[in-house]
């Protein structure tokens, strides 16, 4: 059984170097089951890079990223798993995965981590519905007998496809895009595209949803809708969210836990109001050294 509050994702000593540039430097943090964890920091702090390491797009230079399905007791096997050289283990319903060892598509397929992108990546020439069906590729692939049954049009595949369309319809209802189901995704306005990308990620049945600046470019009304959507994803489905966001109102309102990065280094970690008042965070955002924070803060009326 999963219990809210158990650790879901554990990032340990994560370091990512690009040539001489250290984009992420010895970062450790945890994300808990059913919670919304926000990852914030100034531009170029390395947030997207952390996402790319978690989702397998980049291979970290150093560090370990563990993810647990089901019973948190399985965490006790983390060191044994690391030594075994395997990518993951499963014990009954529970599983433990080392994400840094997995290629990107397996992170989604096996470890069930889904993500969105900072610069939206939909399939613009496919319809909204098709986008959501592509997200259910692996399940449908099995149902189509790896294409064999599908080619001969067996009824079992048709049933599976109808179920997928129903699931897509559900999500379209939830994100309010049902009336655009048959339109090309590239035709949607920006805010709708953002929501579609989230719906698409949700169609992969993730345990952890990683959102890279989902509120960027949204107007206040859309932003409020997004907050609701994210809260409901967390509450109704018990899905944990890892969130990169610049919009502090979003972060403070919906997140349970905030991690702050600056130049790849973690400078603060804790509940939203703790982080908000952390002088180091303020310094990082204002771009001034620690000891000048009060002075500058007073000047701008903080």
């Amino acid at each position: 059984m999963t219990i809210a509050g158990d650790i879901l994702l554990r990032v340990e000593h994560l370091t990512m170097r690009f040539g001489g540039l250290v984009a992420v430097d010895d970062l450790s943090f945890e994300a808990r089951q059913g919670e919304i964890t926000a990852l914030i920091g100034p531009n170029g702090a390395g947030k997207t890079t952390v996402f790319n390491c978690i989702t397998g797009f980049y291979k970290p230079s150093e560090g370990r990223i563990g993810l647990c399905h089901g019973d948190a007791a399985i965490w006790s096997e983390l060191d044994a798993l690391t030594d075994s050289g395997k990518r993951g283990i499963t014990r009954g319903d529970s599983g433990l995965y080392l994400l840094e060892r997995m290629p990107d598509y397996l992170v989604t397929q096996n470890a069930r981590v889904a993500r969105t992108f900072q610069n939206i990546r939909l399939f613009p020439g496919m319809t909204v519905l098709e986008n959501l069906l592509v997200a259910q590729h692996n399940a449908l692939m099995v149902a189509s007998g790896y294409t064999l049954f599908g080619i001969f049009g067996l009824p079992s595949y048709h049933r599976a496809e109808r179920a997928s369309v129903e699931k897509a319809r559900d999500w379209l209802n939830r994100v309010g895009l049902i009336h655009r189901a048959d339109d090309p995704a590239g035709d949607l306005p920006y805010g709708d595209q953002r929501r579609l990308e989230i719906a698409r990620a949700m169609c992969t049945d993730p345990v952890l949803l990683c959102l890279d600046e989902p509120a960027a470019g949204l107007n206040p009304r859309e932003s409020a809708q997004l907050n609701e959507l994210l809260m409901s994803i967390g509450n109704e489905h018990g899905i944990s969210i890892l969130l990169i966001e610049h919009d502090m109102s979003v972060v403070m309102e919906i997140s349970d836990h905030v991690v702050v990065l600056d130049y790849g280094i973690k400078i603060s970690d804790g509940a939203p109001d703790v982080v908000r008042n952390d002088p180091k965070v303020i310094a990082a955002y204002l771009g001034v050294p620690d000891h000048e924070v009060e002075k500058v803060g007073a000047e701008i009326g903080l």
Binding site: T48, N52, F57, Y58, F117
Partner: protein, 305 residues
């Protein structure tokens, strides 16, 4: 050892020709990101123009000084080929700039088919052979009756290539045009905003590419003394290989890639199998692209997520 030395000389000669063509591929790819498929055929057209010019000079005007004739042939071929490539760019590529990615490629392939068939139809399908333009050679080493020679032809090719590369390097590294080119490579819209005439820069790039191909075509005609309408494709692909090997977009890379391909080809023919010499070049192409897609001197193409 002597065989090796001789092949080295032959390989460098062949490589110079490939290098000159390769620069055209690399420049065009650098500036508009397109593989100019017709470039090999532009080279072939240049060789034919050189042929016609040479015949006019020698059989009609009776010019007996080979140096003068060669010089005039070179100039005529460069001018005319530049005109051809300029028109090709205007007609076949410019309307497609910024549109569908495959369209310029197909257009270039169509242009390549058109050019080779145009020459076939207008000049006939047979090989065109001319009497040797330049004869004589230096004997460098003789060993057990095997003489390593450096022919005057080869020397001319080396010399002309070297001189032109210096001029060309000056053009792209030191002049306004070169700066405009590099600006367009980075970002065409930005370049246009800061006052670079993008259309003109791209046109000039095609003109320079053609001029160098014309030199290569003239040298090819002089070296082999024979040319046919189908001679564009294979040297074209090999020169493209050279450009890729050197790192597409990199000018010194194109030259060094050309030399390497020339050497690989001659060495392969000498030591392994002449029948499979094209396989050598194509394999180099495939292997480079697979294991070293950025080439020897190219910038790595990072996939940012």
């Amino acid at each position: 050892m002597e065989v090796f030395l001789q092949q080295l000389i032959n390989g460098i000669t062949l490589g110079s020709i490939y290098g000159l063509i390769a620069i055209g591929y690399t420049m065009v790819f650098g500036i508009i990101g397109m593989v100019n498929f017709a470039h090999g055929d532009v080279f072939m057209v240049a060789a034919f123009v050189a042929l016609v010019a040479f015949l006019i000079l020698t059989t009609w005007l009776g010019i007996s000084s080979i140096a003068v004739a060669l010089f005039i042939v070179l100039i005529v071929a460069m001018l005319f080929t530049s005109l051809v490539n300029w028109i090709i760019e205007r007609l076949a590529y410019r309307p497609l700039r910024g549109s569908f990615r495959l369209a310029p490629l197909i257009s270039a392939i169509g242009m390549s088919i058109f050019l080779s068939n145009f020459v076939q139809v207008s000049q006939g399908p047979r090989n065109k052979a001319i009497p040797p333009m330049v004869q004589g050679d230096f004997v460098l080493v003789t060993h057990n009756d095997y003489a390593v020679t450096l022919s005057f032809k080869q020397l001319i090719i080396w010399g002309v290539t070297a001189v032109l590369l210096v001029c060309f390097w000056y053009l792209v590294a030191k002049t306004r045009l070169g700066r405009a080119q590099r600006a367009c490579e980075q970002d065409q819209r930005m370049a246009a905003l800061v006052g670079v005439n993008v259309d003109q820069t791209i046109s000039l790039t095609f003109v320079i590419a053609a001029a160098l191909a014309a030199v290569a075509g003239t040298m090819y005609l002089m070296y082999y003394g024979v040319v046919s309408f189908s001679d564009g494709f294979v040297p074209g692909v090999k020169a493209f290989t050279a450009a890729v090997l050197g790192g597409i977009g990199s000018l010194p890379g194109a030259v060094i890639g050309g030399l390497l391909i020339g050497l690989i080809e001659t060495m392969w023919s000498a030591y392994f199998s002449i029948d499979y010499k094209d396989v050598a070049a194509f394999s180099v192409l495939a292997i480079t692209l697979i294991f070293l897609p950025q080439g020897l001197f190219g910038r790595p193409d990072v996939e940012k997520v």
